[in-house]
């Protein structure tokens, strides 16, 4: 390997890592607020890619059926829960959130079928279609067991992942898709060619991580999310509803997953079940960040991307084995770190 190949591999690795950064940060965000290790998170990214591909070919994407089904189910559950608790006062607002809002992008997708929206329009519509999925699933699946242990929530998340893969096959079909590149442009630095696409991926990752940081630091809703993550009881006593914060967390995380799906769609062929592996690699990044630190998660995700890139150069067959093999020493190292920090807090 010479320096030039190393530079290309590094660039490639950083671009892949940047995609994992967005998903990894989403993992940490959802875990912090809801204590759910959201296994199906990669599926959300894959579904966004499949949605974008369907819009490109002028079809109504399968997401439409998925969102309608989830919205109706969530609304029925909401009505039933409110009837039982005799708290019908907030029903119109709840209906607006679980039924009307999710159906707005669905309607837009129908109206747009067969029309050329342009790249930006298709991307925006794909994101709008995917954003209600995770919050609605939260309402249907996780809210009834919100107080359960982390292990039980994880088990539910694994089951949900398999359910979603099945739904993915049903709504999107078995064909793999690859979308048009966001841009073909290239640029040259030091005699080496880089695609603007790569640059775009890294830039999107930085911009959206940055926006999330600003949201957490400077808005009341962002602070409410941090408060819920740090002290759920204290947050409730301030009037911060866990249901509201988890919905916000899922919407934001879905946006991150959706963006990563859109970034990955032109560079990799995506199938209905491709999400798991993408999610798992980003999860390694989140583990390096101990499911708690956003900067460490971002660094871990970039590390995974680099490792994957170099591993595929050395042995393409074993690249996944190498990436996940690294998880073991990392887990050992982190568990030692955990023990130390626990001892510190006991003192």
């Amino acid at each position: 390997m010479n320096a030039q190949i190393a530079a290309i591999l590094a660039m490639d690795g950083i671009a892949t890592g940047a995609i994992y950064v967005l998903i990894g940060i989403g993992f940490v965000l959802i875990f912090a607020v809801t204590r759910v290790i959201y296994v199906p998170f990669g599926d959300i990214a894959a579904f966004t890619a499949l949605t974008l591909a369907a819009l490109e070919t002028g079809h109504v994407p399968g997401t439409v059926g998925l969102v309608i089904g989830l919205a109706v189910l969530a609304t029925l559950l909401e009505v039933a829960a409110r009837l039982r608790a005799r708290r019908l006062g907030g029903l119109p607002r709840a209906m607006l959130l679980t039924l009307v809002l999710p159906l707005v992008p669905v309607l837009a997708a129908w109206l747009a079928a067969g029309r050329d929206l342009g790249m930006a329009g298709r991307v925006a519509l794909s994101l709008a279609l995917i954003m209600p999925v995770a919050p609605l699933l939260d309402r249907i699946v996780f809210r009834p067991v919100a107080d359960a242990s982390v292990l039980l929530l994880l088990t539910v998340a694994v089951v949900l992942h398999f359910g979603l893969v099945g739904l993915g096959l049903l709504f999107f079909g078995p064909e793999g898709v690859r979308t048009q590149p966001l841009t073909d442009a290239m640029f040259t630095v030091g005699g080496m060619n880089f695609s603007v696409q790569t640059l775009l991926i890294v830039a999107a990752s930085i911009v959206f991580s940055g926006l999330l940081f600003l949201f957490f630091e400077f808005t009341l809703a962002g602070k409410a999310l941090r408060a819920t993550a740090a002290n759920p009881t204290g947050a409730r006593l301030m009037g911060i509803r866990p249901a509201t914060t988890s919905t916000i967390a899922y919407v934001l995380a879905s946006l991150l997953a959706g963006i990563s799906g859109i970034l990955i769609a032109p560079v990799t062929t995506i199938f209905y079940d491709s999400g798991f592996l993408i999610g798992l690699k980003a999860f390694v990044g989140a583990i390096i960040g101990a499911m708690a630190s956003y900067p460490l998660t971002a660094a871990g995700a970039i590390f995974v991307g680099l490792l994957e890139s170099f591993a595929s150069f050395w042995s393409s067959d074993f690249k996944d084995a190498i990436v996940f093999g690294v998880l073991i020493p990392v887990l050992l190292w982190r568990s030692l770190g955990f023990r130390e920090s626990e001892e510190e807090t006991e003192e």
Binding site: R86, N231, L237, M238, R241
Partner: protein, 237 residues
């Protein structure tokens, strides 16, 4: 009409009845204290009133059946608890803790800013430390932050659970001073305390809770002079 009324309230942990048929009422702006030994069910009583624990019996706040309101809806109506454990957001700054205290009034940005100024004026120590993480405050400052944070919601009724717990005597006096001064804001207070003397000196009405039941009730001054109460709770004067 009473601001808060509890009638025949029962709370159990499994088979153990921790609160056994307690009834009490608080008028607007009144300070009511519940004193009693450790394990009498004082914290349980407050937790049940707040909705943190399931209970049996009737509870109304300002004429509204409390069972129809979840914790957050109670807070939005000005019904706030400052728990024994304070439940501060340790990693967040003093200012952020206070801002979150105003979350229930999130649609009233101007009112929140005004409330923040008032709290900072009332607690100059918090103003000095506004950028400091709440976890680095001293015990007394934490209690002030917990009180200030609750005031940000413009409460009509504050439930205070052991506000003097773990504080140095000098700080305890300061905290009770603050509680008495809240009277002037028209805030009704339900104060649960082991420090019976300080509590009765501050309150209008007092109740003595023993083994989950109210055994004495009356004007706070009368309870202070009741020989039985004095013997058990005021250091046998």
């Amino acid at each position: 009409m009473a601001l808060l009324s509890l009638e025949n309230l029962w709370v159990s942990y499994g088979k153990v009845e921790a609160v056994r048929g307690v009834s009490l009422a608080i008028e607007p702006g009144e300070i009511v204290t519940v004193i009693g030994p450790n394990g009498a069910g004082k914290t349980t009583l407050l937790s049940a009133a707040m909705g943190l624990l399931p209970s049996r019996g009737a509870m109304t706040f300002d004429g509204v059946d409390l069972r129809r309101l979840d914790i957050e809806a109670r807070v939005e109506r000005g019904f706030c608890l400052v728990p024994e454990t304070r439940e501060l957001f340790a990693n967040m700054s003093v200012a952020d803790n206070l801002l979150l205290g105003g979350y229930a009034r999130r649609r009233d940005a101007a009112g929140r800013r005004r409330a923040l100024d008032e709290v900072m004026e009332r607690f100059p120590r918090l103003a000095e430390r506004r950028t400091q993480p709440a976890g680095t405050l001293s015990g007394g400052e934490r209690q002030m932050l917990a009180l200030g944070r609750a005031l940000m919601a413009r409460p009509r009724l504050l439930l205070l659970d052991e506000p003097s717990l773990g504080l140095a005597p000098l700080i305890v006096r300061e905290v009770f001073h603050i509680i008495a001064s809240l009277h002037g804001l028209g805030v009704a207070i339900l104060l649960v305390e082991q420090n019976a003397r300080a509590a009765l000196e501050t309150a209008d009405t007092g109740h003595v809770l023993e083994a989950g039941e109210i055994v004495h009730s009356g004007p706070a001054a009368a309870l202070m002079n009741d020989p039985k109460v004095a013997a058990s709770y005021l250091g046998g004067r």
